[in-house]
Symmetry: C2
Subunit: 201 residues, 2 copies
């Protein structure tokens, strides 16, 4: 039994399942719940339940949504003719936070990964292609992760859209802002060199 009650032990186990939460932190969090009983703790439990119950997938882009369409797809100020293709909702969130994306998104729900036995048919690529055909999509921006599987996934979409009138682009890769050339690896520097952009003189 140890120092904890049964329900505390179980709560610690549950907290420890969260990413980046070690045993020590899980104990601290569980203790916080214990000592803030009633007031705060139940709010967290209800919030978790609500996310699980209410969250659906946007029928258009597969973003998290609480209605048929997500808040981005149903926002009339967004440019529906530019579709940013991402692997996961978390990528969408990261891009959205920059405030630079005025278009809409399409969440692939993963990436092509032979190692994980995941092929194009396991992603929402067919939905993307249908969407492009039906709507007046002018540009598709590929924003998959800059690695082998991300590139493979983007490449697959590029092949599928060959011959269509849609403009294709890919988010830029190069040396990350704030880092130094000295510490960048060969692959990063190669991207930075081959992707160099003209500067107005």
């Amino acid at each position: 039994m140890g120092a904890f009650t049964e329900s505390m032990g179980r709560l610690i186990d549950e907290f420890a399942k969260l990413p980046g939460i070690g045993r020590r932190t899980a104990e601290r969090l569980a203790y916080h719940v214990l000592s803030s009983r009633e007031e705060g703790a139940i709010g967290l439990a209800l919030a978790i339940r609500d996310v699980v119950r209410r969250t659906k997938e946007c029928a258009a882009c597969f973003n998290a949504a609480e209605a048929e369409r997500c808040s981005i797809c149903s926002d009339s100020r967004r440019d529906q003719s530019v579709v940013w293709v991402v692997e996961e909702v978390k990528d969408l969130i990261a891009l959205e936070k920059t405030g630079e994306v005025t278009g809409v998104y399409h969440v692939l729900k993963g990436r092509i990964s032979p190692m994980a036995g995941k092929g194009p048919e396991d992603l929402t690529i067919d939905n993307l292609l249908k969407r492009i055909r039906k709507q007046k999509v002018k540009e598709v921006v590929l924003a998959t992760n800059p690695d082998l599987e991300g590139d493979m996934t983007s490449q697959y979409i590029v092949e599928k859209l060959k011959g269509s009138q849609v403009k294709l682009s890919r988010i830029a890769r190069g040396i990350p802002q704030g880092s130094s050339i000295e510490y960048a690896n060969k692959a990063i520097l190669t991207d930075a060199i081959t992707g160099r952009q003209e500067v107005e003189g």
Copy 2:
């Protein structure tokens, strides 16, 4: 509305209320709940609810308990004649983990703190004194935190027990194992010096 749904926003707020959880981490945890829907997430919600619902205070020592008595007080192998006095349940947990305590505990539920307007009557000191009178308590070990308010709290209990037959002791303070004398401050070194213990020659 931002990048998150309403329920996700609320879950992030709730996670961010937890101690040591910043905004970034809260978002990561909420995203984990979102993507692990059904399966894992509800377990955490239920575990929180159960801790809140089931946890009571031990009628004897004020430890967290799921029955009238906590698992320590109701363990017949524990020495009921030695009572370790701590401020909070978290202190009990820390001591209990050492496996060195064979006695039982008494949780004061705080400390005397003039700054916070907390006096002895706000703690469980009366219960402790009653307990000592009624049961055959031989030793009381004061394990309040080694600072001004902790000392004040212990000192108050010492005064109250003056003239009783109970042996009083205090957990040792000194230089912490693994640290170095060079970096210890004056107060720590003074404790280490005045508390020096004889070594068998």
